[in-house]
């Protein structure tokens, strides 16, 4: 075995052990060392040199980045997740046919989809989705994220929340919690428009808060314009949309008419 590969794998073993212990400081330190060592392998992206150890090195590097992604989730660091995921991605797309498929591939891809959903980057979500084969879409990890997106778009928020109980992988929990927060904001935004008023008790249930106190804090922080009146939550629905129709947008009309006149003159 190549001495460099041995060195990296030994270091990687220590990293894995630290990850199991949830010793994040050691993990990050070891990870940066590993990343530096990986640079010396010529067979890795972007060079993809055909060295005799290529397959071994690629597999090792893929393994390291997969663990890096898991680490970033455990550390709840979304930026690191994005970075590590993009470093990992070429191993799935560009050299996927040279290596045996990693058992972690689908869970990590699903995790990434979930992250995009949480960050409300729906366009990127769909771009990633297009890259997946029909086979991949059947995988429970991917399917989970896809169904979540659908329920989210439809507005079936309680389906999103019940999905938390059925996470296919333990790493998903972190993002599901984040998603719950996004969902709460969405529900608040929708209720504001849909109801004239709500009972405090119902509102609390709808927003999935455990006590009235939490509800009032939430209102104070996010929606100070809501009023609480003897047990009822009153949304001051702005009626300005109806009012604005009454007046004529004169400036805009003048501009338009002038431009018609100019164009017509040109034609004649």
């Amino acid at each position: 075995m190549d001495p460099k590969v041995t060195e990296v794998s030994q270091l990687f073993e220590r990293f894995k052990a630290a990850l199991v212990r949830n010793d994040f400081d050691t993990c990050s330190k070891l990870l940066s060392q590993l990343k530096i060592l990986l640079i010396e392998f010529k067979s890795l992206p972007p060079l993809f040199a055909e060295t005799p150890n290529a397959v071994q090195e690629l597999t090792l590097a893929r393994d390291i980045y997969e663990h890096a992604v898991v680490l970033s989730v455990k550390m709840e660091d979304q930026d690191a997740f994005e970075r590590d995921f993009f470093q990992l991605k070429p191993y799935y797309t560009d050299v996927g046919n040279r290596l045996p498929q990693s058992p972690q591939e689908y869970p990590i891809l699903g995790l990434n989809l979930l992250r995009l959903l949480v960050q409300n980057r729906i366009a990127e979500f769909h771009t990633e989705l297009e890259l997946l084969s029909a086979n991949a879409l059947e995988n429970p990890c991917i399917k989970h994220a896809v169904e979540l997106e659908q329920s989210f778009m439809e507005g079936a928020y309680n389906r999103v929340l019940t999905a938390r109980q059925t996470v296919p992988h333990e790493t998903y929990v972190y993002f599901m919690d984040l998603l719950a927060r996004t969902v709460r904001d969405e529900i608040a935004g929708c209720s504001e428009k849909a109801y004239d008023s709500l009972k405090v008790e119902d509102a609390r249930q709808m927003l999935l808060l455990s006590s009235d106190k939490e509800l009032f804090e939430y209102i104070k922080e996010e929606h100070p314009e809501w009023e609480v009146k003897n047990g009822w939550l009153v949304f001051n629905k702005a009626k300005e949309s109806a009012a604005s129709c009454k007046e004529i947008p004169s400036l805009q009309l003048i501009n338009q008419t002038l431009s018609y006149a100019r164009e017509l003159e040109r034609i004649v």
């Binding site: 769909h126 771009t127 297009e130 659908q150 439809e154 079936a156 935004g189 109801y195």
Partner: protein
């Protein structure tokens, strides 16, 4: 997927020569005339002539035979030269006798000094022939050789031929499903074309790259390249159509439906009538995008000539969305799932589910002034463990997004629809009117700008002085329009 891009040029009737004495091989005669056209074009540096030569070649395409081409090669290239021996090696060695006669006949004319334009043209001719004969591996070798040769040539008159070569280069690799291999090459060629200000080449190569990326569903990379590549006014209508189509696809995936619809419809409209496959493809995507936007395409879209059959699945899908019936939608999606997955629109159709619910909800809100949420759930056929709660949140989201005008009553579990206001009391009609006027005026301006007058057509009718006056006026008008445009935007 191949059919849509092989947008064939409209068949140009090859100008039949009146003095065609050698009736034995009229095709060869034509080819020689084309060669002469290229020579004069190269000499006078007139790109138009070369463009015409390429068009005439396409018209001859079906009549090409190995023997004709090999004798033409003997005529156009110095026998024994590197290009000549390489190109002849690609051609199949059949009907030997015929060939010998022809080469003997053309040997006398071989003294003609050949230009590099003509050499490139020979590459193009052989390549087209090989692709038509389905000899893809030879075509790949031939196209790669031609690309290598092109790298050393930098002349504006070659650009037209080069852009064609690029296209067939990519096509030959696509037909053998090796598109990923040439991506790096195409990128390098695009860079070279940009440095040489070869706009036609850039346009063609950009499209080929987009196609290459989209073939592997790499929408992210495609969009990044597209948004950073230099843009200019289109030189070729075909290339522009393709560009619009790819742009529409990218936009669709990235959920920018309004822009996507515009590009796709424009692509479908601009495409030549002969390019049926391409137009069908554009229409399929346009239908889905319009459905996603909440519009219902008219029946005439599906009844266009030659498209009824291909658009049938999309027609049924539209029907399901129009009615807002989730069950029907599911059956249609399953029934045509093979079609949809071969069109690679499956993921888009999954997105449509949400629109089906919206339409159903809108129908309900129009028909009932007050309805219980349990009934809404029943009518929408939501199959979930907790239909009422689902219905409530779905309705509230629809209200927020402005899809329906209603309020919810949580205590009673009702949805109360508001009276639909008089639309003529709002600015809506005025806005619609304005957008139509703007469209018409814009079309007029584009038409004026696109007019091209042949320089000699008015010679007899008007004197030189008058013509000068007219040209001046035209120039002023053009300048005027350009200035106004700058003011507007």
């Amino acid at each position: 997927m191949t059919q849509d891009v092989e947008m064939k040029e409209q068949q140009v009737v090859a100008a039949a020569p009146s003095n065609s004495t050698s009736s034995a091989t009229p095709v060869l005669q034509h080819l020689k005339e084309i060669a002469a056209l290229i020579e004069t074009g190269a000499y006078a540096r007139e790109v138009r002539r070369i463009l015409r030569a390429v068009r005439l070649t396409i018209a001859l395409r079906r009549k090409l035979k190995a023997s004709v081409i090999s004798s033409f090669l003997g005529f156009a290239l110095a026998p024994g030269s590197e290009a000549h021996s390489r190109l002849t090696s690609y051609l199949p060695k059949d009907d030997q006798s015929d060939m010998e006669v022809d080469t003997a006949a053309s040997a006398t004319q071989a003294t003609v000094k050949h230009s590099s334009e003509l050499e490139i043209y020979c590459y193009l001719l052989v390549l087209i022939f090989l692709i038509d004969q389905k000899k893809y591996s030879e075509a790949k070798a031939c196209s790669s050789a031609s690309i290598a040769r092109l790298k050393n040539l930098n002349r504006r008159t070659i650009d037209v031929l080069a852009s064609r070569l690029y296209f067939y280069y990519s096509l030959s690799y696509e037909l053998t499903d090796d598109l990923a291999e040439i991506r790096g090459n195409l990128l390098a060629l695009h860079r070279v074309a940009t440095l040489r200000h070869d706009e036609l080449g850039q346009e063609t190569l950009l499209n080929l790259l987009l196609r290459n990326y989209l073939h592997y569903n790499l929408y992210d990379q495609a969009e990044k390249l597209r948004s950073k590549a230099p843009r200019f006014e289109a030189h070729s209508n075909q290339q522009f159509c393709r560009y619009l189509f790819y742009l529409g696809k990218i936009r669709t995936i990235q959920l920018e439906y309004t822009d996507a619809k515009e590009s796709l419809l424009q692509a479908a409209r601009k495409a030549p009538v002969a390019a049926l496959g391409f137009r069908v493809q554009c229409n399929k995507w346009a239908v889905i995008v319009r459905l996603l936007l909440g519009e219902i395409p008219e029946r005439t879209v599906f009844m266009q000539k030659g498209m009824e059959k291909a658009l049938r699945p999309y027609f049924e899908l539209t029907n399901a969305v129009r009615i807002g019936d989730l069950e029907l939608f599911k059956t249609v999606a399953e029934k045509f799932s093979t079609t949809f997955s071969s069109d690679r629109t499956n993921n888009l159709i999954v997105r449509l589910r949400h629109n089906v619910i919206r339409t159903g909800l809108r129908n309900i809100s129009i028909s009932y002034s007050r309805i219980s949420l349990a009934d809404v759930a029943k009518k929408l056929r939501l199959d979930s463990p907790n239909p009422v709660a689902d219905a409530e949140s779905i309705v509230s989201k629809a209200i927020r997004d402005g899809a329906i005008d209603a309020t919810l009553d949580h205590a009673n579990g009702w949805m109360v629809s508001k009276e639909t206001g008089d639309i003529y009391s709002t600015n809506e009609p005025q806005q619609a009117f304005n957008s139509r006027i703007a469209f018409c005026l814009n079309m007029h301006n584009e038409a004026v700008r696109a007019l091209r007058f042949p320089p000699n057509s008015h010679k007899e009718k008007e004197s030189a002085e008058k013509r000068r006056e007219r040209q001046q006026q035209e120039q002023e008008l053009a300048k005027h329009i350009a200035e106004e445009d700058e003011d507007d935007f």
